[in-house]
């Protein structure tokens, strides 16, 4: 079984983003970029399926500017087998719908039985690409996964839902999106980082797939969120209780 894992290059999750004063966006110049954390979990899950003898090959694909090569190499160093880079540099974030359309074409070419994606990218926070890809392919979807078992042509997936956990069974081929507790991604070792440089990496462009990536949403402005003023420090529990009672809060 071949597993396809799309990965996105995003601003590192430890970086405090700065909104540009003119409202045009966030400052991405000289900022550390990394693989989207939810995508790292997706790569890890695919590699574990391969190590367990369930998956035969793990292919990673990234869509974006040329620098996304680093993100693919990172996944290859973790243990993925080969990469596909689809370059599309329009200077703005490519929307999930366009990404899903490109991925649908990649799926057509590669015929994976399972596509594992991060549930959301930590830049646009859309939480949409996996669901959209499932729709375009007419496949079943199991989003926000905390456990994935492959058995009898199905993926049995436990999902993180509002009230607790839900388990569903999805016929393969299928889409799975990862939540935080699915696994803990490994660090790539130095020898594996060296080996990853020799793993195959194909380069394509969005135009090769005939997909129109023009955005449907126009970003009018990007602003700082409304701030919140710090209040007061209280000296004791008694003082805190008094303040809460004063405010009619308890």
């Amino acid at each position: 079984m071949k597993v396809l894992v799309p990965v996105k290059r995003v601003i590192d999750y430890n970086v405090k983003v700065k909104v540009q004063a003119d409202g045009s966006g966030v400052d991405l110049a000289n900022v550390k970029m990394s693989m989207n954390p939810f995508d790292e979990i997706a790569v890890e899950e695919a590699i574990r399926l391969k190590e367990a003898g369930v998956a035969s090959e793990v292919v990673v694909v990234s869509i974006g500017e040329k620098k996304a090569t680093d993100t693919i190499r990172n996944a290859l160093a973790m243990g993925a087998d080969r990469g596909i880079l689809v370059t599309e540099d329009q200077g703005v974030d490519i929307e999930p719908l366009a990404v899903a359309k490109i991925l649908a074409k990649v799926v057509e070419e590669e015929s994976p039985e399972l596509v594992i994606l991060g549930k959301q990218a930590i830049d646009n926070d859309m939480n949409a690409t996996g669901q959209m890809l499932a729709a375009l392919l007419g496949w079943g979807q199991a989003t926000f996964a905390s456990e994935v078992k492959i058995e009898d042509g199905k993926a049995v997936v436990t999902r993180e839902v509002d009230g607790g956990l839900q388990t569903i069974s999805v016929s393969l081929p299928a889409i799975v999106t990862t939540d935080l507790r699915l696994n803990e991604p490994r660090y790539a070792s130095l020898p594996n980082i060296m080996k990853a440089k020799k793993k195959p990496l194909d380069e394509k462009t969005a135009a090769d797939y005939g997909v129109d990536t023009a955005p449907r949403l126009t970003v009018v402005t990007t602003e700082e969120p409304a701030g919140r003023e710090a209040g007061i420090k209280v000296g004791s529990v008694d003082e805190l209780v008094a303040k809460l009672k004063e405010g009619g809060l308890v």
Binding site: V19, P96, D125, L180, R181, V220, A230, K233, L240, L244
Partner: protein, 306 residues
């Protein structure tokens, strides 16, 4: 403008709070029709939400467990009559609506916090560190609304209820089981008071002191991502950009440093109390009342004195 709102149904009952909050957002866009995928009792509840003009009910086993494939097809079959298709940004809404959007060849707008006009919306990006105003050029707008930023509509309405028929089960996925956390505590996203613990709580056992304070106050229990990652608390307690977004009257953060991703999930709370032994913790920058103290002393004392 006509709006189709996918009601939140959990365990065969209408989740009134989430649905009524999304109804408030929907009313800013036009005439709201609520689609209830569940029993007629849930539809009758939805009919009471103020501002709802009609309720469509699809009482079919295929829709009972929120399976995205079946629900999305049902919504798409109804979509022609509506300019906006909306849902509360629950795990169900976020699972189903992007699928609907792709089937309609439109973009989805996730976790919208403000309606500017019929095409323009505000939504948080970068874990709430920036707010984007986006204008959609699509024919149909598909939107999930972050419920914590909208007040729930009242419950004095009496909309008509009609049956909606869909194609039923596509057979792509099937429901196996729910493991719903049994609790007498209020639901996290609609609770008036939330007591949360962070990494500082130190262990799963020690979380009992957080729970004791919550129970004393009739509050819901929350946790930071650090506490969840460390195995101190279950994931459905997680408050933050990757968990639940809450805005209670009172939020008590115990042993929580105040990472950006956590603040994104609770900074709209009316009053924030922080108890942390590190006086430099960023949580104090958003707290109305800060107490620099060891939570293992302060939280039991607070529980006793309230």
């Amino acid at each position: 403008m006509a709006v189709l709102l996918l009601a939140e149904v959990a365990g065969g009952a209408l989740a009134v709070d989430a649905t009524a909050k999304a109804a408030t957002a929907g009313a800013k866009l036009g005439d709201v029709t609520v689609l209830v995928c569940g029993p007629s009792s849930a539809a009758d509840e939805a009919a009471k939400i103020d501002g709802v003009s009609k309720v469509l009910v699809a009482d079919d086993a295929a829709y009972a467990n929120g399976l995205a494939e079946n629900l999305a097809d049902l919504i798409v079959s109804l979509a022609g009559d509506y300019s906006h298709i909306i849902a509360p940004a629950t795990t169900t809404g976020k699972n189903v609506l992007p699928r609907v959007a792709a089937l309609l060849d439109v973009m989805v707008l996730s976790e919208v916090i403000e309606v500017v006009d019929a095409d323009t919306f505000k939504r948080p990006v970068y874990a709430g560190n920036a707010i984007q105003t986006v204008k959609s050029g699509d024919a149909t707008k598909v939107i999930t609304f972050r419920t914590s930023t909208f007040d729930a509509a009242g419950l004095s309405g009496s909309a008509s209820v009609e049956a909606a028929a869909g194609a039923g089960d596509k057979g792509l996925s099937s429901f196996v089981e729910d493991k719903v956390a049994e609790s007498d505590r209020p639901e996290l996203t609609s609770a008036k008071i939330v007591v949360s613990g962070g990494r500082g709580v130190g262990s799963e056992e020690s979380f009992s002191i957080i729970e004791a304070l919550a129970d004393k106050l009739g509050a819901a229990v929350g946790a930071s991502r650090a506490a969840v990652d460390s195995g101190f608390a279950p994931n459905d307690w997680q408050v933050g950009q990757t968990g639940k977004v809450v805005a209670p009257e009172l939020y008590i953060a115990c042993g929580i440093s105040g990472a950006i991703q956590h603040l994104a999930g609770m900074k709209d709370s009316k009053v924030i109390v922080a108890i942390n032994k590190d006086e430099e913790a960023p949580i104090f920058q958003v707290a109305d009342f800060g107490l620099v103290a060891d939570l293992f002393d302060a939280v039991p004392e607070l529980t006793e004195k309230l």
